[in-house]
Amino acid sequence: MTWDLIWSSLGPILLGAVQATIPLALASFALGLVIALVIALMRISGNVLLSGIARFYISVIRGTPLLVQLFVIFYGLPNIGLKLEPWPSAIIALSLNVGGYGAEVIRAAILSVPKGQWEAGHMIGMSRAQTLRRIILPQAARVSLPPLSNTFISLVKDTSLASLILVTELFRQAQQIASVGGDFMVLYLEAAVVYWVICLVLSTVQSLLEKRLDRYVAH
């Protein structure tokens, strides 16, 4: 009977993964990386105001529960006239979140590139922006890959919170099926296995990428 349940629920759960969890994670991560880069650059810019804003942003994002961030964006913003649909709300909240965590990762990676690389860039006549783009960031990319892939793995699991704002993803599917008959233990375990498989795939991709980028730091 339990096996029947697992089998019959696998379809909806995988559907939730494919239709919501994975696209939500991918979209939020892509957008989040852009935010993270911008915030990281603001943070290391000499400008007191910009770096102050970046610090505040990072502190708020990391210091408050994602659940509340989702709630504020979805249920709170309409009070000031900004009504976003569930998917945009989820992507915004999740990517702001990735932006906060990722900014610190990227900042640390940029700072880990030896100062001599900046100087060599300037020496051949590059501006600060040019050196950053062509010399520093490619090297920082390799350094930040492992922590960023951790951020991504967390993100995959965090997408489950999007169910609170009406996105029916993997975990919500499991919950709905479970609430009918009360088989929460079975369905949560099943959902956990699906998350685990997704994360295993991600880890494998990470290792492959790391190997490809390895020349960037081998010196």
Binding site: Q117, H122, M123, I124, G125, Q139, R215, H219
Partner: protein, 264 residues
């Protein structure tokens, strides 16, 4: 290949003195590191800058290359002259930088680029020159230092001596009026030093104008026209290489030379 590509750039305006430094001052916080440095390097001549650790040699070079902003004094390279006491425009510093090129102690090659990419990055991305012209030039220079076969290798695949020769080629490819070397061999294994010094010596013979910070006194004696000994942010002694190195007049110079030569 044509040896031309190995020759210094010839501009329209050719003063006899390529580098002139006057009254250079620099402090880090309250630490006054340069207390008025004067230098003059004629076209095609080599100046060796020697002195104990912390005496300010690197700071001088970095100031010439626009990596450091002095608090006062003037630097003239070719047709560009900057008076740092007037407050420096970014633009002026960039111009200074364009006229000189530096070879670093730790090479500082770009680890994510091949040897060839390292060399052509400046000419292509900064000087916006034509790839079809830049690549053959770069290959010729690499060939000249015996590294053409390594053009597609990454820096980590090279020995220290090979990396430093790439560092030199990267600087040459910028066709600067002035070449700066900051202890170019001190990070190398002793047997690899020779190759790099030989390349530098050849450059000197070909007429490049150079300032070299070095502890290789035998090399300095052979290669440099002029030796400047710095200590504590001032020039203590200067003169023809053979004179300063063989018959130093100042006690500080004598003491320094003794220590570096480890006379047991």
């Amino acid at each position: 290949m044509s040896p031309t590509s190995f020759r210094p750039q010839s501009g329209v305006f050719q003063p006899e003195t390529v580098l002139r430094v006057a009254g250079l001052h620099k402090a880090f916080g309250t630490n006054e590191v340069l207390k008025g440095i004067d230098l003059e390097v004629p076209r095609g001549s080599v100046l060796a800058l020697i002195g104990p650790s912390g005496s300010g040699k690197t700071t001088v070079l970095r100031s010439l290359n626009g990596l450091e902003t002095p608090d006062g004094g003037t630097v003239t390279i070719g047709a560009t002259s900057i008076d740092f006491s007037l407050g420096v425009r970014k633009q002026a510093r960039a111009e200074l930088r364009d006229r000189s090129a530096m070879v670093f102690q730790h090479y500082n090659l770009f680890p994510h680029m091949t040897v060839l990419q390292n060399v052509i990055e400046g000419p292509l991305q900064v000087q916006k020159r034509d790839r079809a012209e830049v690549v053959p030039e770069a290959e010729a220079l690499l060939n000249r230092v015996g590294l053409l076969a390594k053009k597609d290798a990454y820096p980590f695949e090279l020995s220290g001596g090979q990396q430093q020769r790439v560092g030199i080629v990267r600087a040459l490819a910028l066709k600067p009026q002035l070449l700066l070397f900051d202890e170019p061999t001190s990070a190398l294994d002793p047997e690899l030093v020779g190759d790099v010094l030989a390349v530098i010596k050849e450059l000197a013979e070909e007429g490049w104008t150079m300032v070299i910070v070095t502890h290789e006194l035998a090399f300095a004696r052979q290669t440099a026209d002029q030796v400047v000994f710095m200590d504590g942010g001032v020039v203590v002694e200067r003169g023809p290489a053979s004179e300063v190195l063989s018959n130093p007049r100042q006690p500080r110079t004598q003491q320094f030379l003794e220590r570096v030569l480890h006379n047991y």
